[in-house]
Every structure is written in C-alpha cells, then in structure tokens.
Symmetry: C2
Subunit: 354 residues, 2 copies
C-alpha cells in the first residue's frame, strides 16, 4: 500500500478498483483474440488455448474471466483518444496481447516457474520443447494479426509492423538482461530500471504508441506524446508490480515477502542491496548468497527494507513518473472522455492492489 | 550415393560439387547478414555472432567459410530469374537466413543436440534460457531485415512480410510435429513427409517465392511457379539430408548409420518401420523401444533397410520431385542464365554428398 503522497488516491477507494474502460473493450478483445486461433487445428494450438485461459489442458472449453488485458485496452483507448475508431486498432491490440503471452510462455521456461495465475505453466504440462515452439507459434500468430491492418493502408501497416517488431525485440533484450542479472547481488537500480524499461516497458509503450498511430492515421506529435506516456505507464506498472510482489500478499491472503523468498531481483531488492551499508550490507549479501532464503531471513530483509524506507522510495519512483505522465496527458489534444479514462487507468496502475 | 536413375548425374562428377552460383552471391550475402547485427552491442548479440560463424565464444572474430547459405542463394537467384536485380531481394534473402538460424538455435535446445558443424551449440555454452532468448532475438532481427524492403514499395513490403510470417509459422508447426513424433515407432511415411514439408520445406519454398515476388514486383504465374519449384526443392533437400544422415558418413570420414544411432525419425527409418513385416518388424520395434541402439543393432537395422531397398526408395522419392521441378523450370519464362543455374542447383540438391 502506498505510504506517502498517494495517500489521497488510496483513500479514494475507487482508484484501486479496475477502471470501467477495461470492461468496455473486454468482449471485443476476447472475441478478436479467439478468432486468431480459430481454425488452427494442430494440437500445438490447444496448448495455446489453454495458456490464454480458454480451455483446460484436456481441451475442454472454459468460459471464465480472462485477465484484464491491459495492453489491448491501452491500445484501443489510445486510438479513441486521438479521434480514431477503436475497432481499427483491434488487430494491433490483439497482436500485442499475443506477443505478450508469447513472452510469458518463454519466461516461465527461462525462470523455471511451475504456475502462473494458479495454473500449471505450459512447459510443466507439455514439456520444454513443445513450450518453446508453442511460444514461437503465438509470436507468429501475433505478427499475422497485425497484417490484417492492410485495410488501414499499406503505409500504416508497414509502419505498425516495423514498430511492433522493434518493441518486441526490445522486450526480448530485456528478457536477456533479466536472465543475465540472475544470481547477482551487484545489480544497480539504474541497471534494473534499464532492464524493465525493455522487458515490461517496451510493449506497454508500444500499446499506446501503436493505438495512437492507427487512430491518427500516421505519426505526429500526439503519437509521440502518447508513446512517452506509455513509457511512463510501463515504468509505473512494473514498479507497482514489484511493490506488490513483496508487500501485496495480505490483500490476496498471502504472506508478505513472496518475491524475497523467490530470490527475485525486483526493484525493492535491488534498492536495499544497493542502499544498505556496513554490517547490514554484509548480512544481506550473505543471505542472498545462499541457495534458499529462510523465513527468518525473509523477515530480516524486510526489516532492513523498512529501516531504509524501500517501499516508500519505490512508490515515489512510480509517483514521479505518474506526475509527469499526468501533465503530459493534460497537455495533449485528446478526446475528453478518453483522456479522463487514460488518467483513471494511469492512477489505477499506481495504486492497484492486484 | 544414388543407386538408380540418377546414376547418370552421379557419374558426372561435377553435379556433386557446389554449383558456382553459391560463390557468386557469397560475399554480398555475408556482408548483408553481418550488417543486420552491426551496432547491436548487448552481449546477447555476441552469442548470435558466434552461432552465425563470425566469432569464437569469447568474442574473437573469425574470418572463415560460413556455410553455403542455400536459402539466400535460392532467393537471389529467383529474383534474377524473373528479371529482377538480385540486390533488391537481399533484405529478404538475409531475413530468411536469420529465421533459418533462429530455428536451428531452438532445434538444438529441443533436441538436446550439443554440437552443430563441429562447434558447441549455443545452449551448451550460454545455457538454455539465454539460448531461447537469443533465438527469439534473431527471429526479430530477421523481421527487421525485411522491413528494409520498404523502398521496394509499401505494397510489396506488406506482401513479403505477410508471406514470410506464414512460411515461418508453417516451419514452427513442422518443429512441433517433429517433437510430437519423438519416441514413436508408428509414424507413417505420409506423416513424415507432411512434417518435413513444413519444417524444412516452408522456408525453402519461401526463398524462391519471395525472391521471385520482389524481382517481379508483385504476384503472378511465374511467382507461383517458382514457389512450386521451391516446394519440390525443399522435399529433395530434406530427403537427401536424410539419406546422407544414414549412408553419407564415409564421404565425411564417419561410420554409416549415424542417424540410426541417434534414434532420429528420418525418412529411411520411418520407411523401414512401415515396410518391414513379420519377425523383422517385431525386431525393429524391439530395437527402437530401447533407450539406446547398440552398434550391432544399428547393423541389423541397416541390413533390413538393404533388404527392403530403403535407400533406393528414398532417393526415388527425391528424383520424382526433381523430374517435376525440372519440367516446371523448363516451362517457366525465366532468364536463360538463371534458369540454367536453378537446374544445376536442383540437381546438386539431389546428389550432393555433403
């Protein structure tokens, strides 16, 4: 929970609720996503329908909630904000969500994670080789989705394809950096922020940028502006994710410190390892040099974080970006309704509890 | 060595030598490939420079032979054959080669192969997580390469991007099928051919198709014709590869039967498992049900293959496609020189010894 200048927003209970804009696009996005896999009958696509939350691992269809689809929502909202018809941006919105899920499938393998959203990960059920290929398939299906933009004019289609590829290459570079940091206790806050700017930020940035590009029918100041807002939103999203990974447990009925137990190099961990001094620093280095972190040591790390003010510092980093993004949103020429929804969404990213 | 109707070509010693067209494009392709990774300074790109044969694993540059670059050669030759300037197709030729190498990097992980071209594979040196991401990076760099085609007109660029993605999605589907066949002894010849049509065929088909598309400045009969020739070339290439995987050892100083020892589901193996009857069939099933195949059992499998005429049958399958491809090449309106080089190249694929 935020400790300082966001107290105003967190007292406003609705700011932590899912903004209504998510519901507005939910069914269009869900249908368009499913359509991309329709008619693809090889069993490999059943593994993808499972991963997307549309089927059990035995193929039985599920009709349940599917996650908030943050990236497609940002994309369609950006399109609307610049005066476009959000339906025109649907192929890109869908492509970005598929690319995002491709990255999660491979992340699960790379990190050895056995569950995601309380379900076994793809590699756990079907094995690593199949999971690698399944991820690749989803990336290609995502690329094919954008190619439906052709109707928006060949020039726009080429530009969108180019930018999407650049953004996901950047995302992949972030995945590489994340892997290369593993087991290290000397990763600086700057290193870490440069990594998440790519790993998480690039695709969130691309969501607003590409939605705006399609809506405006070409590049320009407002597209650049929304791209910059997307860069801020990506940073805010990941920092809040990192804060919740350590202090967000209670709201979900889980213990505090989950990401410490997992030895995850998240912003609070990188911050405390960088900021602790003297005996505390040596103690943290010793704790992190062991294969597993005991519950007592998790408590100890949390104590040092409390002493240094790590949670407050992290949230302040996110808030600084939020202030900047909000100013930019207010200065851009956007449709009034969409502008308000973007502000709601940005604040939600800053204070969300799940 | 071919046993039947190709004896004429195999007596002509030059048919097994690398056709001169490879040398003609070698330096342009090599330079253009390197350019795609130039200026990319994250260490992940060093793993790719290693894999492409331009550097040692410690980063030291190598200036040696780089493989024949079959797919770029086919692509540039198709462009020339329809009257285009091969330089125009260079971005696509490069993209296809990068995509091909992406697939090899992931194949090595999926199959647990520790060496390729006598060098340790990427995952052996840098670990699986880095190798997965490195492969993905190379795919994205390949996509970016095609986007340089924009100068060839947005419409052509969109069409090329679309077809390339469809071809590599098909390739990925073939990788999935290949994985799903592993450990099975009931894969039919038809199953196997449908798999290689995707896994190997799709990108070779795309090489001729996309080169022709760029050269002709759009789709049409000659593009469709060269695409069909590409489909045949892909089949011929893989069948010959499979034959060499079992009987090609001696020319390279290796024992016969390498792919039997590796328990690889290649065409000769699938053929003999399908065609053997009675006691021989039971014996083969027993041999293939064991974790490892002993040298004595490799000999036994080779004996049954000899009895059934598996090598001759495989080569005949390739020859049938070659006859068809040759007829089609002769019927298409192509530049005389390029047409002759395509015929030389096709015959080389049929009889090559390495």
């Amino acid at each position: 929970m935020p400790e300082s200048s966001t107290s105003q927003s967190s007292r406003d209970r609705s700011a932590t609720d899912l903004p209504s804009v998510f519901a507005r696009y939910q069914s269009a996005v869900g249908n368009a996503l499913r359509t991309e896999l329709d008619g693809r009958s090889l069993p490999i696509y059943d593994t993808l329908r499972y991963y997307m939350g549309w089927a059990e691992s035995n193929g039985t269809q599920i009709h349940g909630p599917e996650g908030k689809r943050l990236r497609p929502t940002l994309c369609l909202l950006a399109c609307e904000a610049v005066g476009g018809n959000p339906e025109d941006a649907l192929p890109v919105a869908v492509a970005i969500e598929l690319v995002h899920n491709f990255s999660l499938i491979h992340d699960d393998i790379e990190d050895g994670d056995r569950t995601r959203h309380h379900r076994p990960t793809l590699w756990v059920i079907w094995g690593e080789p199949t999971a690698i290929v399944a991820g690749n398939n989803l990336l290609a299906v995502g690329d094919i989705a954008t190619q439906r933009l052709q109707e928006a004019g060949a020039q726009t289609a080429v530009a969108v394809g180019h930018i999407l590829t650049e953004r996901y290459l950047s995302m992949m570079e972030g995945q590489y950096l994340d892997i290369s940091y593993e087991g290290r206790t000397d990763v600086t806050v700057d290193d870490y922020l440069a990594m998440i700017e790519r790993k998480t930020g690039a695709l969130i940035e691309g969501s607003l940028e590409l939605g705006a590009l399609v809506g405006a029918g070409g590049s320009g100041e407002v597209v650049d502006g929304l791209r910059a807002v997307g860069d801020d939103f990506g940073r805010i999203f990941q920092i809040r994710d990192d804060v919740l990974g350590i202090w967000g447990g209670p709201a979900l009925g889980k213990p505090i410190g989950a990401d410490i137990t997992r030895k995850k190099n998240s912003l609070p961990v990188v911050h405390v390892l960088e900021q602790a001094h003297g005996a505390e620093r040596s103690e943290l280095q010793r704790i992190y040099s062991e294969d597993e972190i005991s519950p007592a040591n998790v408590e100890r790390v949390l104590d040092v974080m409390d002493g240094i003010g790590t949670q407050r510092w992290c949230q302040e980093q996110a808030e600084a970006r939020w202030v900047r993004a909000r100013e930019r949103l207010n200065s851009l020429k956007l449709s009034a309704d969409a502008s308000r929804e973007l502000l709601e969404l940005g604040e939600f990213l800053l204070v969300r509890e799940a």
